[in-house]
């Protein structure tokens, strides 16, 4: 029996555990301090909004873990003895292992603003953050959210669903326009405001003001405004949860550095998910990608590698999705916010219906590099095929219905796109 210990039961650790435990000669121990079971962090918002119950967060039935004889320990690993291969837990136990997988995820990024330690300054990452927010909710009339990213807008939607007044401080000139183009981001700005959020662009947090009892009373912004509030949500991104490992021999940069087999510099120790930093990246991809499916894929790869089928983790074509209040967002391939000198964007928008399609392509041969969709759904397989085969833009547009993934009856916008393309593209690109 090879003893595999996994620290962290997020999607990375849980997926690895399930895949390894299917093989007979391995015994798996899954240790995590947050919850005794694996849950979908991505759905925390829907619990707060009353769409689902906390019990619905579990992607697998509880019986599955016993079926595969996965030992689950609800405790925190405080120290790792890499030399003698065992783990020390907060409650005093030690766990020996033959193979160790680090899947410790991320923690919220924070900045030492004055007042950051006041009561009712919150984050949104762990289940405990949600419990705290729930606990504070009756006392919140006005909330301020700092940081215009994916988690910030989720937090805004959550608080609006509970009828809280929300001020949303965004440092950039439009929501998330470090990723979206200005034209896309403006659409989202408008939609955020339509949902009753007081969106303040080009605005940063200066300090959080005490209400006199150690709780949040107001925030002061970079434009000098004082906004009274009873809660401040800090959502300025995440960073790998590796601080507690920094004193060891483990090679850590921002995250735990791993090779293509997800091995760390220490033998028999692997790192996967949000906490891992890839030594080598594919074109247009980053060494740390804190998203759900990459963590899941790494879990699958590491399981195959450990169980005797060495499988490199290869970043394929990038894709991802999100939802900004009611507007769905999907992205495939490489779509920077602004075109480079060699590339250009084809952009179609239908602002009244919050729809937008942006296809990034090379100027020389018109081969498409990536697609951004807002308010419409595209078929991943088809988009990947076009991008991988460097299909020229005109061909993509004429075949667009192949990629339609909206519910039946909801794809009439495709004709508009095709007509718009006929009118636009050939006039601007004719010699």
């Amino acid at each position: 029996m090879t003893r595999v210990a996994i620290i962290g039961n997020g999607v990375a650790g849980a997926t690895a555990a399930l895949h390894i435990a299917r093989h007979p000669n391995y015994s798996v121990t899954l240790i995590s301090d947050e919850t005794p079971y694996f849950f979908a962090r991505t759905a925390l918002m829907y619990v707060y909004m009353g769409h689902i119950r906390a019990s619905d967060l579990k992607p697998y039935p509880d019986t599955l873990w016993d079926k595969y004889h996965i030992q689950r320990i609800h405790d925190r690993v405080t120290d790792i003895d890499f030399q003698h291969k065992h783990l020390h837990l907060a409650e005093g136990n030690t766990i020996p292992y033959d193979i160790l997988i680090l899947a410790t995820g991320s923690i919220p990024h924070r900045i030492d603003w004055p007042g950051i330690h006041l009561d009712r300054v919150g984050y949104l990452y762990h289940l405990q953050d949600l419990h705290r927010l729930e606990h504070w909710t009756p006392h919140i009339r006005h909330a301020v959210i700092v940081g215009g990213g994916l988690i910030g807008i989720e937090l805004a939607e959550m608080l609006r669903s509970r009828h809280k007044q929300v001020t949303f401080l965004v440092r950039e000139s439009h929501f998330w326009n470090i990723v979206l183009s200005d034209s896309e981001a403006q659409l989202i700005d408008q939609h955020i405001r339509e949902h009753g959020v007081d969106l303040r662009l080009n605005t940063e947090l200066e300090e959080i003001v005490d209400d006199g009892s150690g709780k949040v009373g107001a925030v002061r912004t970079s434009s000098g405004d004082l906004i009274p509030c009873q809660y401040v949500g800090i959502t300025i991104g995440v960073k790998p949860n590796v601080q507690w490992l920094r004193d060891s021999h483990l090679h850590i940069d921002t995250g735990i550095v791993v090779d293509e087999f997800l091995r760390t510099n220490i033998e028999d120790v692997y790192a996967i998910g949000d906490c891992a930093q890839l030594q080598h990246t594919a074109p247009y991809r980053r060494p740390i990608e804190p998203v759900w499916y990459t963590a899941r894929e790494m879990g699958q790869c590491v399981a195959a590698t450990i169980t005797g089928n060495p499988t490199p983790y290869r970043q394929g074509l990038w894709y991802n999705s999100a939802k900004f209040f009611d507007i769905e967002y999907q992205t495939y391939g490489y779509v920077p916010p602004h075109p480079d000198p060699e590339t250009d964007d084809f952009l179609w928008q239908d602002p009244p219906h919050y729809r937008s399609l942006r296809i990034h392509y090379r100027r020389d041969n018109h081969a498409i590099l990536g697609i951004n969709a807002l308010g419409l759904r595209l078929r991943q397989e088809q988009c990947h095929q076009w991008i991988q085969q460097a299909t020229p833009l005109p061909e993509v547009i004429s075949q667009l219905p192949l990629a339609a993934f909206d519910p039946e009856g909801n794809t009439s916008y495709l004709r508009d796109i095709q007509q718009y393309f006929q009118a636009q593209f050939y006039t601007t690109n004719s010699p």
Binding site: A40, H51, D56, P59, E194, Y293, F405
Partner: protein, 497 residues
Amino acid sequence: MAPTHTSYRYKIVRHIADGIIFLLLAMLALRWMDIRVLPDTLSSWGIPLAFVLAMALRAWAQYAHRPPGIHNNGVWFRPLTSRKWPALTLSLLLTSFYVVLYFYPQYLGLGSDGAPNRGLIAMFDPLSKALSGNPASQWFVYGVFYTTAILGFGIKFLMKYRHNRYQRWRTLSVMFFQLGFAFLLPELLMALNKPYYNFATFWPLHYYYFDQWHVDQLLRAGLLGKWMFFWGLAMIFILSPYLTYRFGKRWFCSWVCGCGGLAETAGDPFRHLSSKSLRAWQIERYLIHSILVVAVAMTIGVIESYLRTGQYWLTPRSFVVLSLLVVTLPSAWLLFTQREQLARDARILLAAVALLFSIVLVNHLFSPNGEIFFVDAGTVRKWYGFFIGSIFSGVIGVGFYPIMGSRVWCRFGCPLAAILGIQQKFFSRFRITVNGGQCISCGNCSVYCEMGIDVRDYAQRGKNIVRASCVGCGICAAVCPRGVLRLENGPSYKNKA
């Protein structure tokens, strides 16, 4: 901030609409106690119409000021939709209504032995007379309530999902079939002295279709009646298999059927209450397929028993042989061609059915005068009507909406859903396609599946959903925040997963 102010005004309108609905219900309650507020000639059509309009007003006030999108905020917080006491009270009221309707219609005011109607039923006499020329019966009153509910709550559903054309079309479709085909047309046929016929349903959901009185009524009603009779047969053996092959069982279950229609409209606020446990799925499979077997056997028995009178061109023996072929051949085909796909319980059930029907055949061939199922088919038919037709589909099917979700009957009981489900699973182009690796395991799709399918379990593994029970309502695809799911009629019935 702006929205707080506007939503305040909408709130007032919503309270007004609630007030109107309450007044209408109070008028019905008073009329039930024989206290007339308005003349029956006005209220028999005025109250249903006013209800639909008030529902429209309410839906407008509830949704018009919110941007189009998914409106599930607070579903698990509100007592009515999270099995708290208001839900239990509503469930009790609904079940009591069904018990009175089915078993004690006199308490609704039905006049017996030629006595005129009183109370609630008398209130609908003018409408009934205007449509069919007859005084109202409890079934007429039920039909009016049912249709009104589908129309009123249908408008609410249209407003709630106004951004989604698939949802709008199918809701308009169930509203149309309920009003036109299930309610108005049969009444008008009666006015024209033709047999009552509901084109929006067929055997085995329409379980008395092959009862002697019904067959006689159709066959004796001239060309139209004969045509109706054969339409019913064509529906069972030709049209529905084809449509299910092409589109999945959704063409019926969530576009046409009245039971489905009520579940999708009035039942929509309770859809998330269906159990997603493995246990529930096991119970579902045994229960619904057993009921199908009973319904088929019972129908064969009933037909055989009246064929024995010799009044019909079909002899009992040729009928029994024919129907056993119709049952066993497809089952055997399923058993042999789809072996790997069938779960153990399905194989057991199929084998049991094959065995049962072989015994019947032998028994029939060697003792042609005995009862074909060893019990009197008429008795079975009576108990089926009581337990399945009344208790299951009505009292439990609708009465338990607020506790077990909106599709209890469709999921655990309906024999027609069972047949269409088998066709859908093995011989249909329909599937729910999963979009690559975009699923984030959030669980919304599973929670809002009224049939209790754990959609997420498939989606997070990137596997298409091919399930017998899926009625194709499309809500999983609507609520999915990542656009992962799409209802599709693929190019072929093979390789769907």
